[in-house]
């Protein structure tokens, strides 16, 4: 469990104290995949670096598994850091060491295991990330996705309970991003590891995260379960991210709204109801007619959802909306 309690981080910029981050209260539960999303400069990387104290808070407490990390003595801090793995946007592998040597590096630093034990562990880790045959290559000989897999193997070497991911998929192409996210998701499930994932891609959050915090201007502006935040964004920044991830242009959408007649409604189907022929049923029963303004069917982690923006004309629109609500569909009247 990770807890931020009244945390502030300020920097001196040309003699002036500038607030970079202010988080009153934020809790990340054990075993969950927690997303932190925001534009660049929103303070999400700073927040992540507070967990293993790569950044020290100017004020407040960061409590990890019951320990206030800001109070650790240097030797304690080093021991504590070994229990936390970290992966990076640019992988940060040592170019002078082979894949196997890179993965062995944190174990050598810890200095608690024999050479044979380290070799065995490295083999096991490389098998886990599917890179066994590349053990003796140098990072420069690998693709971006493979480099990040080495980064993940290295981060897991000391059997951490927490994995910090700093924009780990931002330098990868969409397909590689998906496979790396899949790997993180598997690791979370199989090892029960808590994962904190910083990203500016809402898509990454949608794929793997259980809960998410949206950051803007150094503050957490919205937090909650991913399905909640995704389907019912409240803060403007969150809305922007959600629209972006759905490839919807806000202005285009507004324009199509103007052309639409009647009552404009957004219906959100989640889980089971996604696959039921509800729309047809209700439309027939209430005698309404509709046109589709926007629509999307996808998954949030493993839960399927569908979201349709419709304009209803004719018939008993009120009865139709009530029927949708009764069937467990989320109804939002836009106009």
């Amino acid at each position: 469990m990770i807890e931020f309690d009244g945390v502030r981080k300020t920097y001196l910029v040309r003699g002036q104290e500038t607030l970079a981050l202010e988080v009153e209260q934020l809790t990340i539960e054990r075993g969950e995949v927690f997303g932190i999303v925001g534009h660049s400069g929103a303070g999400k990387s700073t927040l992540l670096r507070l967990v293993n104290l790569l950044e020290r808070p100017s004020q407040g407490r960061v409590v990890v598994e019951g320990e206030d990390v800001t109070r650790l003595a240097p030797a304690q801090l080093r021991a504590f850091r070994r229990r936390i793995g970290m992966i990076f946007q640019h992988f940060n592998l040592l170019s002078s060491k082979t894949v196997a040597e890179n993965v062995a590096f944190p174990l050598k630093i810890a200095g608690t295991e024999s050479k044979a034990a380290i070799a065995a562990r490295v083999e096991e880790l490389l098998a886990l990330v599917g890179l066994s045959e590349h053990a003796d290559k140098y990072p420069a000989q690998l693709s971006g996705g493979q480099k990040q897999r080495v980064g993940i193997a290295r981060a897991l070497a000391c059997r951490p309970s927490i994995l910090l991911s700093d924009e780990a998929t931002s330098a990868l192409d969409p397909q590689t991003t998906r496979s790396v996210l899949q790997l993180l998701s598997d690791i979370n499930r199989r090892l029960g590891l808590t994962i904190v994932l910083v990203t500016h891609e809402m898509d990454a959050v949608r794929r793997v995260c259980d809960r998410v915090a949206v950051m803007d201007g150094g503050r957490v502006v919205e937090t909650g379960p991913v399905s909640e935040v995704f389907l019912h964004p409240r803060h403007p920044t969150t809305r922007e991210f959600v629209l972006e991830s759905e490839h919807v242009d806000r202005e285009e959408f507004q324009e199509s709204l103007q052309h639409a007649e009647g009552r404009v409604v957004r219906l959100t189907f989640k889980g089971e109801s996604t696959y039921r022929p509800l729309l047809g049923e209700v439309v027939r029963r209430c005698g309404v007619d509709f046109s589709i303004l926007a629509g999307r069917i996808d998954h949030i982690k493993d839960v399927p959802y569908g979201q349709l923006t419709l304009s209803f004309v004719r018939g008993d629109v009120e009865a139709a909306l009530q029927a949708f609500a009764a069937a467990g569909v989320d109804v939002e009247v836009l106009r």
Binding site: N52, M86, F88, A110
Partner: protein, 222 residues
């Protein structure tokens, strides 16, 4: 005509001078690396926004390095004479040239090491820190191996500088090819000796650069 032109050249003497130059450069390079590497690491670590940021220590180290580097080597040769006598018992010949060569070369090499370390991606230091590494573990495990090609390039530059410094030490009776060039080529107007020694120095520098480039390539994994 060629044979006539080279009448002044005593090849045995040239051979011995070559060897002396190699010894001066080799021995002084050893000490330059021995002193300059830790000095360069210290400059890097105590520098701004680095692992052991210490503005005062950095300022002092930096000042001393700049001071030594701003003294022209010919002057350093002369100024060093009393110190050299205390250290090796003489200020002449091959041994007498080595202390000033070390004092002249170490600050240059330290700066080159500092620059090579600065070229290492900060992310690598951060990743190593995140593994719970101590500062020595970061330096020996990550920084120095990552900076090795840059440091080897620095050794190459320094060794070539030491060749020209070693030749200059001939001015105060240092020995080697420089000594030969001054005593015969310059003072006795034996132009052929001068040409040969300079040609040999050119060859030596070319060889050192080639060797250095190969080593850098051998250890570059990027």
């Amino acid at each position: 005509m060629m044979a006539q032109w080279l009448t002044n050249v005593d090849w045995l003497e040239i051979g011995r001078a070559c060897w002396d130059t190699l010894v001066m450069v080799g021995v002084s390079l050893f000490f330059v690396v021995l002193l300059g590497l830790p000095l360069g690491v210290a400059l890097f670590l105590t520098g701004k926004r680095q692992l052991l940021e210490q503005p005062l220590v950095y300022a002092v180290l930096s000042f001393v390095v700049n001071l030594l580097r701003s003294v022209p080597f010919v002057i350093l040769l002369i100024v060093m004479i009393p110190v050299t006598v205390v250290l090796v018992g003489t200020s002449l010949g091959v041994p007498g040239a080595i202390p000033p060569l070390v004092v002249g070369g170490a600050p240059l090499f330290a700066r080159l090491v500092e620059a090579a370390l600065r070229e290492v991606d900060r992310g690598i230091v951060e990743a190593t820190q995140a593994m719970g590494a101590t500062v020595p573990q970061i330096v020996f495990g990550a920084l120095l191996p990552e900076a090795l090609p840059g440091i080897l390039a620095g050794v190459t530059v320094t060794s070539i500088t030491l060749v020209s410094y070693a030749a200059m030490s001939g001015v105060i009776g240092g020995g080697g090819l420089g000594d030969l060039a001054i005593r015969f080529g310059y003072q006795r107007f034996q132009t052929d000796v001068m040409v040969i020694t300079v040609a040999l120095l050119v060859v030596l520098v070319q060889l050192l650069q080639m060797l250095g480039d190969r080593l850098v390539l051998r250890f570059s994994r990027r």
